[in-house]
């Protein structure tokens, strides 16, 4: 391989702080690390969350300070953040080769201010940061990190008991990008999602990716003018545009075609992924576009993405007694629409909870087409198993109810597919020793 592209090898110098700031941050990191160690010893997980909380308590500006001077790529959207971040980090690492230690990422999916601060504090010298970023943190990320690249995947209904309006999130991105102006990040964005397109419209430069989006239920109206969007097929591909104003699906540089990605210029590559589903081909296309923008050659990026198998436990296979289970995460209707076709076992185990991290309202159960499971048996588990059971009765799907997660896994041999909302998914990872 020849010399690395100059843009990739460009070094940065993390955080040039004043001496008191540096001392304060240093002390906060030490205390945070001690708290994380205590949490690990007590068997309460990785400690990333408690480290971040201590850090932001003792050094409230830690998020902004730790981001300073790093070359940041941020990834956001309702679904696919964690997997895309893993794919992109792997692609950039492959591009860096021996210098892969320059990269820091929040691989555990802790994507709020303190989760990001926690990850950064662990690798103070790493000058390239690939950061999964919660939708609500994107505007702060743009304001404080001056990111080079921002990957915007999609918007769909998710935890409406907390977010209320999807459009408000898109508006916050749009305003932040407008404020950043020409010095703002280059955007890699999903051209199929009207709200993403509207949010990214104010950015200085956008690399559009035409994904294999299947969930359009949250893109009925034009985010700019409120007119009902028109959807039509052109060359066998669905496109959208607004009859009421000029907003329309942009021509994309990158395009997903089945299990292949069409590059700008027309060359096709097949990302040999170890994460399943067409949704992840779309995620890989976005990661690839961002990696290439960052200076990673296509071949290197693909080789890197090939190494990603179970990002933060997603799609991992684990043993629970004699049961071998494949673990799938689905947090909202769009996520379920992608995950359900991947779960092919009979029985299939579905785990539902409704604490804050899952969304307290399980009305979304009626937005998911569980009808496709007819002919198989579903084991309903988790605290809201009974809500799922009633939904399945109306869907005409055979089911049994076992609220206890461990009992639901049983001694089944395997392999059995488990789809879980956020909280039971984390419990499964813990039970399997994967976190």
């Amino acid at each position: 391989m020849g010399a690395m592209p100059s843009v990739l090898s460009t070094p940065a110098v993390p955080a040039s702080l004043s001496r008191p700031e540096r001392l304060r941050l240093w002390a906060a990191i030490r205390i945070g690390n001690a708290a994380a160690l205590a949490s690990r010893i007590a068997g309460r997980g990785s400690g990333a969350s408690i480290r971040g909380q201590v850090l932001t308590r003792l050094a409230p500006d830690a998020f902004a300070q730790l981001l300073q001077g790093r070359r940041v790529i941020a990834v956001s959207g309702t679904n696919g953040k964690t997997t895309t971040t893993h794919l992109l980090a792997a692609a950039v690492r492959a591009g860096l080769g021996d210098a892969a230690g320059r990269l820091v990422t929040n691989a555990d999916g802790a994507n709020l201010h303190y989760g990001i601060a926690s990850a950064l504090s662990e690798k103070p010298a790493a000058d390239i940061a690939v950061l999964e970023t919660d939708e609500r943190v994107v505007s702060d990320m743009i304001a404080f990190a001056d990111p080079e690249l921002l990957v915007l995947l999609n918007f769909s209904r998710d935890q409406l008991d907390r977010h209320h309006e999807i459009k408000a999130l898109g508006r916050s991105w749009r305003l932040a990008l407008e404020a950043a102006g020409t010095s703002g990040p280059v955007i890699v964005a999903n051209a199929c999602d009207p709200l993403v397109v509207w949010a990214a419209q104010t950015a200085a430069r956008v690399v559009w990716v035409e994904t294999a989006t299947t969930w359009n239920a949250d893109g009925a109206l034009c985010p700019a003018c409120g007119t009902i969007l028109r959807r039509s097929a052109r060359d066998g591909r669905d496109r959208w545009d607004c009859p009421g104003c000029s907003l329309a699906q942009p021509e994309a540089g990158y395009r997903v075609d089945g299990d292949r990605i069409v590059l700008p210029g027309g060359r096709m590559v097949r990302p040999d992924l170890h994460v399943p589903g067409s949704f992840n081909v779309s995620n890989a296309a976005c990661a690839l576009a961002a990696a290439v923008e960052f200076g990673v050659p296509v071949a290197g990026a693909l080789a890197g993405m090939h190494t990603v198998t179970a990002p933060a436990g997603r799609f991992a296979t684990a043993a629970f007694g004699s049961t071998r289970a494949r673990l799938l995460l689905a947090k909202n209707p769009a996520g379920w629409a992608e995950a359900l076709p991947l779960a092919t076992s009979d029985p299939v185990i579905l785990a539902i909870d409704s604490v804050a991290a899952d969304g307290k309202d399980v009305s979304w159960l009626w937005d998911v087409e569980y009808e496709q499971l007819a002919g198989r048996t579903v084991v309903c588990t988790g605290p809201r198993a009974q809500d799922l059971a009633v939904r399945l009765t109306y869907a005409g799907v055979d089911h049994e109810v076992e609220p206890d997660l461990r009992a639901a896994l049983g001694e089944r041999g395997g392999p059995v597919d488990v789809i879980a909302t956020y909280t039971p998914f984390q419990r499964l990872l813990k039970m399997a020793g994967l976190r």
Partner: protein, 243 residues
Amino acid sequence: MSEPVDIVLVYQSLLGIYGDRGNAMVLRSRLAWRGIEARLIEVEPGTPVPAGGAVYLLGGGEDAAQVSAVRALTADGNLYRALDAGAVLFAVCAGYQIAGKTFTVGERDEVIEGLGLLDVNTRRGTERAVGEVLSSWTKPDGTQSLITGFENHGGFTYLGPDARPLARVEIGIGNAGDGTDGAVQGNVLGIYPHGPILARNPELADHLLERALGHPLDPLPSEELDELRRQRIAAVRKAGLRR
């Protein structure tokens, strides 16, 4: 053989953000399980609303979607014709708001004219109402039935003299924190708990069907549904007003 009963799900792409399709699925299935042929008809803006439906359903949605829905339904006119012919309208959440005389949208609280089917007006509330809600509904036979659901709305709704409350709130905000939830006026019923409220409240579902058909329906006992109701009622009472 009689004509199939049509359940019309109106503008799901605009008013369907909280799984509101569930109400239509529940109504259709509860007829089918009794051997009554029923169809679920979905209509989107741009296509005429069928005028011969038995029950029409409006669900939850965001501000811009409410405005678009009112515009399209008013221009279409068939919902009004169907209600004149004796059909039942069941509207939840944002759908309940647009069924009224006026509601507001946007940060500047722009007042929008609704469908005018219920004598209610909606204005920005003093707090956002989010959480499990429990209320009591007086059935036509005079007995009480608990309604369990989930509400999520920023508007408060005030009833005029022609509408009466659908339910009395035990836990939650309901119309305006005034101890009532929903409204009834003729064959139009509205209430805040969104989405699959009829899944959790089969007596309310059957009431809508009986009203639309004009005759009582056979009971349809379900231990599974009873257990779900027990769980949700216990959970909301345990959490109480601290939700």
